[in-house]
Amino acid sequence: MVLQIEEDVNRFKRIIKGKIKENLRKYISHGEMIGKKGKELVSIPVPQIDLPRFRYGDPEQSGVASGEGEEGDPIGDGDEQGSKKAGNMPGTHVREVELSLDELADILGEELELPRIEPRGKKEIVTEKSRYSSIRKTGPESLRHFKRTYREALKRQVTANEYSKHNPIIIPIKEDKRYRSWKKDYKPQSNAAVIYMMDVSGSMGDAQKEIVRIETFWIDTWLKKNYKGLQTRYVIHDAAAAEVDSETFFSTRESGGTVISSAYELCAKIIEQDYPLDEWNIYPFHFSDGDNWSMEDNARAFELLQDKIFPASNIFCYGQVESIYGSGKFINDLHEQFPDNDVLVTSMIADKEGIVDSIKTFLGKGV
C-alpha cells in the first residue's frame, strides 16, 4: 500500500505554520503529549485545529470513573496526561522537542518576511562535484554497468530470436556494453562567517544581555538555514576586546569602561586572517548600549569601519540595547558619520518586544 496521506499532512502543516488558510488560525490549539526520554519528561507538542461545533459548555467538569476513595477525595493525580491544569510537577523537567531548527528558521523567515539570502557578489564561487548519474556506450571496463549491459544483450538476443527460454544464456557483445558515466555538478558555494561582538562593560546588565542572547540565537538560526558552512565567532569587549567561545559570550559579566574600537580592531583582524573576501560572506554584528568611552575612540572606531570592516562585509549590523546607564549616543554618531551607507544597518532594541523588529531590520535588507 502506498501512503497517500502525505498530501493531507502537508496541507495541515502549512495551515499550522500560517502559510495558508489564515481563517483557521484562531482554531489552532497547542496540545501536548508527555513522553519519556531517559529520565527526562519530554513534552511533545501536538498542534491541533479544533473546528467549532455546538458542544456542551463544560462537560469535562464532571463525569463517572472508578476507584477507591471517599466522597470529596481528590482524584486529579492519577490523571496527569488528561488534565492540562495539573501543569508540571515540581522537580520534573519538561522539555519541548519537535520543531527542528530548520523548521524554526522557516517559520521565522515567513513570519518576518525575510528575503532569501543572495550569495555575495557577481562572481559566484562554485565547487565542482562529480556524480555517476548517467550511462554511455564507451568507457573503461572498470565502470561497466553489469545489469544494463546484460539487459541490452537480452534485448538484442530476443529481437534477433537467438534467445531460448529453455536455455537462457546471454552473451554480451561489444555493442551491448554500457558504462557508468559521471556528470559534473556545479554548486554555488555559500560560505558565511558571522562575527558577534558584544559590549560587556559595567553598563550592560543581565536584561540587556538576555536581549542580545535571544536576538543572536535567531539570527544564527536564520543564517545557518541559508548557509551550509556557517562559521560563528564571538568577541566581547569592555575596555579591551577578546575572542571567546559561545558559552562565555552569553554568560560573561564584566565591568569597566567601553572602548568600542578595540572590538572593531579584533574583528578586522579576524576577517583579515581567516576569511579571504573572495570566498566568504561576512556578517559582523555588534551589540552595545551605545556608551563609548570617548570621542577619540569613536573616531578610531569609524576609521576601522570605513577602512577595513565595511569593505569586507556583506552587511554590518549594529544593535543598540537600551540601558539605564548608557548615554546611547553611539548609534547617532554612526548615523552622522555614515549617512548613506549601504552596508551599515542599525537598530534600537528597547526591550524584548523589540527583538522581532530588530531582526527584521537586520536581515530584512537581504543581508
Binding site: 495541515f12 464532571s62 477525595d73 492519577g78
Partner: protein, 489 residues
C-alpha cells in the same frame, strides 16, 4: 499484505471457535500493515480512499507522533463493511494478533446483528471512494481552497444529525392533506346539532386564514439539521452535494458512537472467552494477560468502555443464568437470599445475544446498570472543584452515577439541537433550539459555529440555549454576534 502461515492458521482456528459460539459475522478479511499504514488508515476513519482534507493529516501526525515516542499504538482496526476488513499491525507478537482476531470477530458479529447498524451502508469502501472522486472533481472545478473551506464549514455542523432518523419512516403525502377540519365528537344523530354547517364553515374559513398567514416552518421541530440545510439552504448544487456527503458519512459513523460501550464490551467478552477457553497455550498466557489487562484497565478518574462493557455483559449473563431478574428478585428484601439466588435457568447466553441485537449504549446502561454492579466496580461520579483546582469524588450514589453516565452517552455525547423555525420573526431567519435541562452550550464555540451556519443559510441565525439559570438566544447576523436573555429556565 494478506495473512500467511501461522496467522492464516490462527485465523481459521479462531473463526471456527467463533462459529461454534454462534457468532454470526460477515466474511472477514485480515490485512497486515506497517505502523504508518495503519496510522494512515486510522486517521481516515479506516477507509483507504477519502476526500483530501487537512484533518486526516492532523490525525495522522498525532497518531504517528504517539507511536514514534512509544506513547500509543493501534492494535487493531475493524471496518463495518461486508466483507468486513480488519487490519493488524505487523509489529505485534503472535499472541496479540490472535487476541485481536478474536476481538474482531466479536466486533463483526456486532456490526452484522446490532439493530442500530442495520441501516449502515455495507459497501462504504466504495461509497467513500465515490465521495473522494466527487470532491476531487469539485476541487478541479472550483479550486482547492474554496472547496476545502466549504468542507471545513460542513464539518463544523457535522454533529447536527438525528441519530434516530434512519429508523423513522415518514408518512408520505403533503402535510396539508393530513389536515382535516376539526369536528367535535358526536353521535351520528346529534351531528347536525353539535357540528352545525355554520360551524364547519367557520372552521374552514379559519383554516384558510391560517394558510394565508405563514404556517410554521418546519411544521414540527426538525432534529436533522444537516438534512434541513441540504433541503432548504440556499446553496449551490456542488455545495449541496458536499454537504450531503458529509451528512452521509456522519450517519455512517453514528452507530459506532451510539454503541461504544456495548461494541467494545461485546468484542472483549468474546476475545476473552475464545482465548482463555481454547486458543491460549501455556506459553502465551503471560502475554495474553498483559495485553488483556491493559485493554480493560481503568485508571483512576477515567471510564473505560471496554471494561464497563465486558463487565456488564458478564453480569447480565450471570444474572440470567441464575434468574436474578424480574419482580420476585427485585422485591426480595433479604440480602443473604439475594446473594445466594440461583434458579439455574441457564439462559444467560441467549440473553446477551438478545441484548447485542436490540440495545444501544443508552438503553443498555439504562436497563442493566445495577446498584450492585456500581459497588462491585467501584464507580463514582466526580466533579471539578474550583477552589482546590482538583477533580474530586462527588458521589457514590447509584442514581447519580447512572444519571451522569447516561448524560455522557445520550445523543453520543453531543448536544441535541433542532430547527424550530426557519422563518423566525417572519424574516426568513433560522432559529435552532438546544434541547437541554442542565448544561448550556460552550459560548465561544457556539458563536463560531453560528458563523458557519450563517454561511449555509445566508440569513441571520439564532440558537436558543441555557446559560446559568437563564434561557438565552445567541445570534449571528453576518456581521456581529449578539446574545440576549429570554427568561428564566
Amino acid at each position: 499484505m494478506i495473512l500467511t502461515g501461522e496467522l492464516a492458521k490462527a485465523k481459521s482456528e479462531i473463526e471456527e471457535y467463533a462459529r461454534d459460539y454462534k457468532l454470526d459475522f460477515f466474511p472477514m478479511i485480515f490485512e497486515i500493515l506497517k505502523s504508518d499504514e495503519i496510522n494512515e488508515l486510522a486517521a481516515k476513519g479506516g477507509f483507504p480512499i477519502r476526500y483530501p482534507h487537512w484533518r486526516f493529516g492532523m490525525e495522522f501526525e498525532q497518531l504517528n507522533k504517539g507511536y514514534t515516542y512509544g506513547l500509543q499504538k493501534i492494535y487493531e482496526m475493524v471496518i463495518n463493511t461486508d466483507p468486513c476488513y480488519a487490519y493488524l499491525m505487523d509489529a505485534n507478537n503472535i499472541v496479540d494478533q490472535k487476541l485481536v482476531m478474536a476481538h474482531v470477530y466479536g466486533h463483526c458479529d456486532f456490526f452484522k446483528n446490532n439493530y442500530w447498524f442495520s441501516k449502515t451502508n455495507r459497501k462504504m469502501m466504495d461509497e467513500m471512494a465515490n465521495h473522494a472522486t466527487r470532491i476531487r472533481r469539485y476541487i478541479d472545478l472550483f479550486g482547492y481552497d474554496i472547496v476545502e473551506d466549504f468542507i471545513d464549514r460542513c464539518l463544523s455542523l457535522e454533529n447536527l444529525i438525528d441519530y434516530h432518523a434512519p429508523f423513522i419512516k415518514r408518512k408520505s403525502g403533503t402535510p396539508e392533506a393530513a389536515k382535516k377540519i376539526k369536528k367535535l365528537k358526536s353521535k351520528k344523530y346529534m351531528e347536525q346539532f353539535i357540528n352545525p354547517p355554520e360551524f364547519i364553515e367557520e372552521q374552514q374559513k379559519s383554516m384558510q386564514e391560517d394558510k394565508d398567514g405563514m404556517p410554521a416552518f418546519p411544521l414540527s421541530p426538525e432534529k436533522d439539521v444537516l438534512q434541513f440545510l441540504i433541503d432548504y439552504g440556499p446553496l449551490e448544487q456542488w455545495q449541496r452535494d458536499i454537504l450531503s456527503i458529509i451528512s452521509e458519512e456522519s450517519y455512517y459513523f453514528a452507530p459506532q458512537g451510539m454503541t461504544k460501550i456495548m461494541n467494545e464490551g461485546w468484542a472483549s467478552f468474546w476475545h476473552s472467552t475464545i482465548m482463555t477457553n481454547h486458543v491460549l497455550s501455556d506459553a502465551d498466557v503471560i502475554d495474553y494477560a498483559d495485553h488483556h489487562s491493559g485493554t480493560v484497565h481503568m485508571s483512576p478518574g477515567q471510564i473505560n468502555p471496554y471494561k464497563i462493557g465486558i463487565e456488564l455483559f458478564r453480569d447480565i449473563e450471570e444474572r440470567w443464568n441464575k434468574g436474578r431478574f424480574g419482580k420476585e428478585y427485585e422485591e426480595c428484601d433479604s440480602y443473604s437470599e439475594k446473594q445466594n439466588w440461583d434458579k439455574k435457568l441457564d439462559i444467560g447466553r441467549d440473553k446477551i445475544f438478545e441484548v447485542r441485537k436490540i440495545y444501544n449504549d443508552v438503553t443498555f446502561i439504562d436497563t442493566f446498570l445495577t446498584q450492585e454492579f456500581c459497588q462491585k466496580n467501584n464507580l463514582f461520579t466526580y466533579r471539578y472543584n474550583e477552589r482546590t483546582k482538583k477533580y474530586e469524588i462527588s458521589s457514590r450514589d447509584f442514581q447519580a452515577i447512572k444519571q451522569q453516565l447516561l448524560f455522557s452517552i445520550t445523543n453520543a455525547g453531543q448536544p441535541r439541537i433542532q430547527v424550530v423555525n426557519a422563518n423566525y420573526e417572519n424574516r426568513g431567519e433560522l432559529l435552532l433550539q438546544h434541547i437541554t435541562d442542565r448544561f448550556g452550550l460552550d459560548v465561544n464555540y457556539a458563536y463560531r459555529t453560528l458563523e458557519n451556519l450563517f454561511f449555509m443559510w445566508k440569513r441571520p441565525v439564532h440558537v436558543q440555549t441555557l446559560s446559568e439559570e437563564n434561557i438565552i438566544l445567541m445570534s449571528f447576523d453576518g456581521n456581529k454576534h449578539k446574545s440576549q436573555t429570554l427568561g428564566k429556565a
